[in-house]
Symmetry: none
């Protein structure tokens, strides 16, 4: 099949005012990518005649399939329908079919149709109506000079239903698409983006199918392999080959793939080793527990935690000796060790992990914001307390602490016989 170029245009002043993000463009692009259709551009313009015409002209000059969302509502500033008609030079005509659907919509909801809504039953001559199962505005498929414009409402669930039920099947039929694209994400910890890329640069450079793209997001790095082939099997084989080469180089840092998270990797390891975990959280305030519990099945290995957000809870409930707090303070190696040891014993789990530190803003008890101790306790022969100095804001310091804790656990568990 010849390569299809796609473009997504979002129309709506609310997008330019930053009141909403253009998640429609993301969703449409993702669906097209998995079908082997390349999206080269996104555009966003407001409800403005001149700029809408400009956007349409631009997209028509460079794309085969143009997906337009927004501006189909009943109000006067919704002008996508009119602008599209003007661009393709065809009149808007009243559609009995659309009118029927509109009427049905309002009857079903025992609401009466306003005059404005009737405007939504106008369709461009020569276009195909896209039924709106969820809302009032119908969409349209508009053929023009061997291209297709697809106009759909900006309301995400209305657009998604139209894409799934009408637009995507239409594209598949029209171009009998056989090409498929498969993507696989390989996830790493304990290695920076630039170091990882250097290690595998040579593989990346000689690779065209699948392509390999390094991605970094705070504290984590991943490689995305994307293969294009005529069958799913073939695409997956292409990916597998390269995956093996990569694992040979940087397999030590690989902790999971695709939807995996460090939390799910840790839960998996705990299950494999048949071990249980409990946590004592101070600055992380429950976030570590929350991340673990987000993994379905965590209840088998995670017993729970105590959030000791005040010293009296560290001593009173967790039973960290008051002498330790008195001598070393709550943000200390000694307190962190005690927290990990006590939670392990109190919850009768195989491993206890503890977090204490200063999230910020501002110093606390003589420590910089970002000073964090993380402890892992199995028994008096097997424990570790690490000190970190993060340099971010309150929320990021707390998230980094959780990630570091999970990273430490991951190393410990994967090194166990």
């Amino acid at each position: 099949m010849r390569e299809l170029k796609a473009e997504v245009i979002g129309i709506g002043t609310e997008l330019l005012l930053g009141q909403i993000a253009n998640t429609n463009a993301q969703w449409i692009s993702e669906k097209l990518a998995t079908r082997g259709i390349s999206v080269y551009y996104h555009q966003v313009v407001g409800d403005n005649p001149g700029r809408i015409q400009e956007a349409l002209t631009l997209s028509a000059a460079r794309a085969d399939l143009i997906f337009i969302t927004g501006g189909l509502g009943p109000t006067d500033d919704d002008i996508t329908r009119e602008m599209m008609a003007e661009f393709v030079g065809r009149p808007l005509i009243k559609s009995e079919e659309a009118m029927k659907q509109l009427a049905a919509f309002f009857t079903a909801r025992q609401r009466s149709m306003s005059e404005n809504n009737k405007k939504q039953a106008q369709v461009i001559e020569g276009s195909t109506l896209i039924n709106n199962g969820v809302g009032t505005a119908p969409g349209m498929i508009i053929p023009w000079q061997e291209k297709f414009f697809f106009i759909m409402p900006g309301v995400p669930n209305e657009m998604k239903m139209m894409m799934k039920e009408t637009v995507l099947p239409f594209i598949r039929e029209t171009y009998d698409i056989d090409d498929v694209i498969r993507s696989k994400m390989l996830r790493f910890i304990g290695i920076g983006e630039s170091q990882l890329e250097m290690e595998v640069k040579e593989i990346i450079d000689r690779q065209t199918n699948p392509t390999i793209a390094p991605l970094a997001s705070d504290g984590e790095v991943a490689l995305r392999l994307t293969a294009k082939a005529s069958t799913i099997d073939q695409a997956e084989r292409l990916i597998k080959d390269v995956e093996l080469q990569l694992i040979e180089r940087v397999g030590d840092f690989l902790y999971g793939e695709d939807g995996d998270s460090i939390a799910s990797a840790v839960v998996k390891l705990l299950e494999m080793k048949g071990l249980t975990l409990s946590a004592a959280e101070s600055l992380t305030g429950g976030r570590f527990s929350d991340w673990l519990v987000s993994v379905p099945g965590a209840s088998q290995v995670f017993k729970g935690s105590i959030v000791t957000y005040q010293n009296e809870i560290k001593t009173g409930v967790l039973e960290v000796p008051t002498s330790v707090i008195a001598s070393d303070g709550p943000v200390s190696h000694a307190c962190c060790y005690q927290m990990a040891k006590r939670i392990k014993e109190k919850f009768n789990s195989d491993i206890g992990i503890s977090f204490t530190g200063v999230a910020g803003p501002g110093r606390f008890d003589g420590h910089e914001a970002g000073t964090v101790y993380i402890g892992i306790y199995q028994d008096d022969e097997h424990y570790a307390v690490e000190k970190y100095q993060f340099v971010n804001n309150r929320e990021m310091n707390r998230t980094r602490s959780v990630k570091k804790g999970l990273e430490q656990l991951y190393y410990l568990l994967s090194s166990m016989k």
Copy 2:
């Protein structure tokens, strides 16, 4: 001031593959709107030389201020720096300043700088460096034909810090912006979007400055008031007038404004009433505690929590009577009541809140996924246990539970004398 036209360009193939949404464009647009700068276009292109040049040419032809995010990373597919240099026809030169900041970044994190990272210290001749407080890639302010290009990393928190600390102040100075736009968000709970809209429709309809926009996001609803004026005072007065009219109608449902969250509203009320809180979390798994701890100053009123993710912890640590679990099970009115009472007593707080239920996927102990009990206990005369049936996925059920708990607390606290 002459009208400034702005444009936002997102660079990155991951955007076109739909792996992430272009939230950077939303955030930047929102910040510019509140400063009276009109954003007319968003563009997104991949890491492709030709298309990046095309996007730059287009934006330069129609905007005064061009904000570019993405493609500043250390890897080879990050080419924004080179493309920008090519476009303005100036060389990339090594910046000692940038090198110093990079070095400092790695020293602070006890990591060593890779060869790739050094590429990030290259800046365009004649540009002004934007310090990156959080990551490695510095940004640049590039003056060109009475326009300015601002290039920033795609990592949201790095971009946001650069905008707040460098770019926005720079724009304000450069154009001594006098025409200001002020926005205020009024946040409501316990009222649906359509009901709220009906209550205040008449006010919305006759309002032009400030404008009033209703916004809804899962379980919460807000009204955004946006006023344009020549002075901040004037804009704020315009907003105040309308705010008072709105409060007269729907003030009972108003819990906060702007950056407030239900969590911060609850913390504020606890401080005002001089009360302390503790939590017993089962299905929420620490998320309730995490949300509270996210509010700076929470440590004054939030003592902490116990995450009882297994029955043996409910009975062994929290000391819920085994008979209760045996007779009613962990997901029950009785267990929820006990959890709230025990945590209140154990942590010696004024109020105890408890969460137990089935997050899903799948049924548990004879209960549908989404079955949730939330208990609030002060003393044997003052307590409440509510049952809810949510219908979402695991994560949404857990989040809804936390929000409901905060909502219940908010009502209780605001009704206290």
